[in-house]
Subunit: 344 residues, 2 copies
C-alpha cells in the first residue's frame, strides 16, 4: 500500500475536511463539483486535503449525468474512429452520450479538463493512449468517477484498470510470417519508444528473430512515431542502403503506407522487391495497392470492453481490484508479403 | 410565414401553457428540461402546446452546460474525423466539450436523442449529413438550443442555418480537368441520390460535359453510396464494358479507392489505362498508389465554421436570419489522372 493513500476505510467526512481547510462544507462540495466560484488557493487547499485523506464521495451522493467521457491523446487517424465507434456502441446501449476530448499532443490531459469532468459528472472516463497524473487520478477517485485506460502509452501502474491488445504476440506473428517466407534481412520501424505498446511490438519482432536463430541488426530497427511521414522517411533510409532489407515490419498501418510511398519513389515493387507487414488493420489496409498484410488489433472490441468495464466499475457496490485485459491480435495475410527472391 | 408558427412575439408564457395543458408550471419546466419523470401523455400534450404557441424559452432562463453536441449520420470514415477535429478546435477555444452521437444509419436522429439534448442543454448542436424532423426542430427551438447543419444530405429548408461546400463547382472542376486531358468518354459514380451534395457534384459533371459539347451517356453515370464497396462494384461494372470509359469521376475518395481495386483486379493501370478523380481529399488520398487527384473539400474548416456559427446563434441578442454558407472546393492534381491515350 502506498504511503499517505489509505485504501481501506474512508478516513474523513466532508464536514471534517471543511473544518480542517477552514471553509464551509458547501465550499468543499463546490470543489468536488468542479464549480468555478471557488478561489484558486481554497481549491488547492481542499484538493490537497481530499487527497491526503483519500476522500471518496459516496456513490449515492454523486448524481451522475448520462455521459461517458472519451479522451484521446490525439484525434489523428482512422485508428481513433474505430475506438470512437466501440465506445459509442456501448454508450448507446446504456442510454448514455459520449463526450469526446483530446489531450492535444500532451500525454497527460490538462488540469482544466479534469475540472470539467468533475463538473459534468460522467458515469466514467475512457482514456486512449493518455495518462492521468497522480493528482488527476486522485481528483477522479475522490468524485467516485471510474476510469479505464485503452492501450496505455506508458505503464499505467498496477492500480489503473486498462484494456490492451497482445502487442508482443502481434510483433512475433508478423515477423514469424516474414521468416517463414524465407526472409532473413528484416527491418523494423517502431512507434514512439515511450509507448509500451510500441516497445512490445518490437520486442516481439526481436523474439521471432532470435528464436529463429537470425541476428538482429540494430541498424535495421529505426524509431518512428506511428505517422505516415515517419514510415516514408525511415523507409527511404532503410531502402537506400546497399544492403537493404527484403522485408520490413512497419510498426503500424500508417507507417506501412509511408513505406509504400518510399518504395514507389525508389522504384521497388511490393511484394516482389519488398515485403511489408503493418499493425492495426485499419479499413485502409484492405484498400491500398497491394492490400496490406497486417496484424489485426481489435480496436472497436477493445473500446467496447473499456466502456463496459468503466460502467461496471461505476455500478459495482464494492471496490474492485484493478483489471488488466489484453485482447488477442491476429495476423491478416494479404498481398504485401511474398517469398524472398534469390539475391540480386 | 408558415401557418401555426408565429415567428414574431412570444404568444404564451410558461404559466399559460401549463394552464392550457392542465398541469403545473413545474411540470412544463420538467418537459422543457427533458426530465424523465413526466408521463408520456403529459409530455406529448405539453410539447404539442409548446409547438402550437411557438414557445421559446428565454435565453437567460436556459442555463447551459459547457457542451456542444455533434451528431453524425454515421461515424464511418476518415471524413468524420476531419469534421470532429474542426468542432473540437472551436470547442476547446470556447472552453466547451463536445458530445458526439450518431443517428445510426437513420437520417433523422431518434426522438430519445432530442430528449437527451434538451436534458443536457448544450450551447448548440452541429448536425452532419443529418436532418431534424419538424418536431425535433421545434423541440430545440423551444429550448433556445441553436443548431447548424453541415453539408446537408437533403434540402435543409430556408430556415435552417447550414454550412456546405461548393459541390457543384467541385464536380465541374473535376470533370473539366479530365476533359482538358483529352478524355471524352468519362464515367461517374455518384453518392446516394437522396443527398443534395451528391446530386450537386454529378450536376457539375454534367455541366462540364455539356459546356464542352460532349454527350452525357447516362449508362456511364451510376448511383453509388459513398462507400468503398460501391466504388469497387460499380467500377467493375463500368470497366468491364467493351466501350469502357477512359476516365471516371468517383464521387468521393472512398469510392475512388474502390475503383482502384476494381482496376487492379482487371489489370488496368492508373493513370495509363484509366484516369480517376475523387472528392474530399482525405489524408489517404495522398497515401495511395498512385496518389489520387481529387477535389478538396475543406471539411475541418466547414466544421469550424459550423461550430462558430452555432455559438454565435446562441449568444446573439436578436433573432438572426438563417445563414447558408458554402466554402470553396479546389482541385488537387496528383498522379491518378493523365492525358488520354490513342484508342486501343
Amino acid at each position: 500500500m502506498k504511503p499517505g493513500k489509505p485504501a481501506e476505510a474512508q478516513t474523513a467526512t466532508l464536514a471534517e475536511i471543511a473544518r480542517e481547510a477552514g471553509v464551509s462544507a458547501p465550499t468543499v462540495s463546490k470543489v468536488l463539483n468542479g464549480r468555478a466560484d471557488v478561489a484558486p488557493s481554497t481549491r488547492t487547499r481542499v484538493e490537497e486535503l481530499l487527497r491526503t485523506h483519500g476522500y471518496r464521495r459516496r456513490r449515492a451522493e454523486a448524481s451522475r449525468s448520462p455521459l461517458i467521457d472519451l479522451v484521446f491523446h490525439e484525434l489523428e487517424s482512422a485508428w481513433a474512429m474505430e475506438v470512437i465507434r466501440g465506445v459509442e456502441n456501448v454508450a448507446q446501449s446504456a442510454g448514455l452520450s459520449v463526450v469526446l476530448s483530446e489531450s492535444a499532443g500532451r500525454l497527460t490531459p490538462g488540469r482544466s479538463w479534469a475540472d470539467q469532468v468533475a463538473a459534468r459528472r460522467p458515469h466514467g472516463v475512457v482514456l486512449v493512449l493518455s495518462e492521468l497524473d497522480a493528482g488527476q487520478q486522485a481528483l477522479l477517485t475522490s468524485r467516485s468517477i471510474p476510469f479505464v485506460v485503452v492501450d496505455p502509452a506508458g505503464d499505467p501502474g498496477p492500480d489503473v484498470p486498462s484494456i490492451g491488445a497482445t502487442n508482443w504476440q502481434g510483433g512475433l506473428a508478423a515477423t514469424r510470417h516474414l521468416i517463414e517466407l524465407g526472409h532473413t534481412r528484416i527491418g523494423a520501424i517502431s512507434g514512439p519508444t515511450r509507448m509500451m505498446c510500441s516497445r512490445a511490438r518490437i520486442d516481439g519482432y526481436r523474439a521471432a528473430m532470435e528464436t529463429a536463430g537470425l541476428p538482429v541488426d540494430s541498424s535495421l530497427v529505426l524509431d518512428g512515431d506511428f505517422h505516415h511521414e515517419a514510415g516514408y522517411r525511415l523507409g527511404l533510409e532503410l531502402l537506400r542502403r546497399p544492403d537493404r532489407p527484403t522485408a520490413i515490419f512497419a510498426g503500424n498501418d500508417l507507417q506501412a503506407l509511408g513505406l509504400y510511398e518510399a518504395a514507389r519513389e525508389l522504384g521497388l515493387r511490393i511484394p516482389e522487391d519488398l515485403s511489408v507487414v503493418g499493425f492495426d488493420d485499419l479499413p485502409v489496409a484492405r484498400w491500398v495497392g497491394p492490400p496490406l498484410t497486417t496484424v489485426r488489433q481489435p480496436l472497436t472490441e477493445m473500446a467496447e470492453a473499456a466502456a463496459r468495464l468503466v460502467l461496471e466499475l461505476g455500478s459495482a457496490q464494492e471496490e474492485r481490484a484493478a483489471t488488466r485485459l489484453e485482447l488477442a491480435t491476429s495476423l491478416v495475410v494479404r498481398s504485401s508479403t511474398a517469398p524472398v527472391r534469390p539475391a540480386q
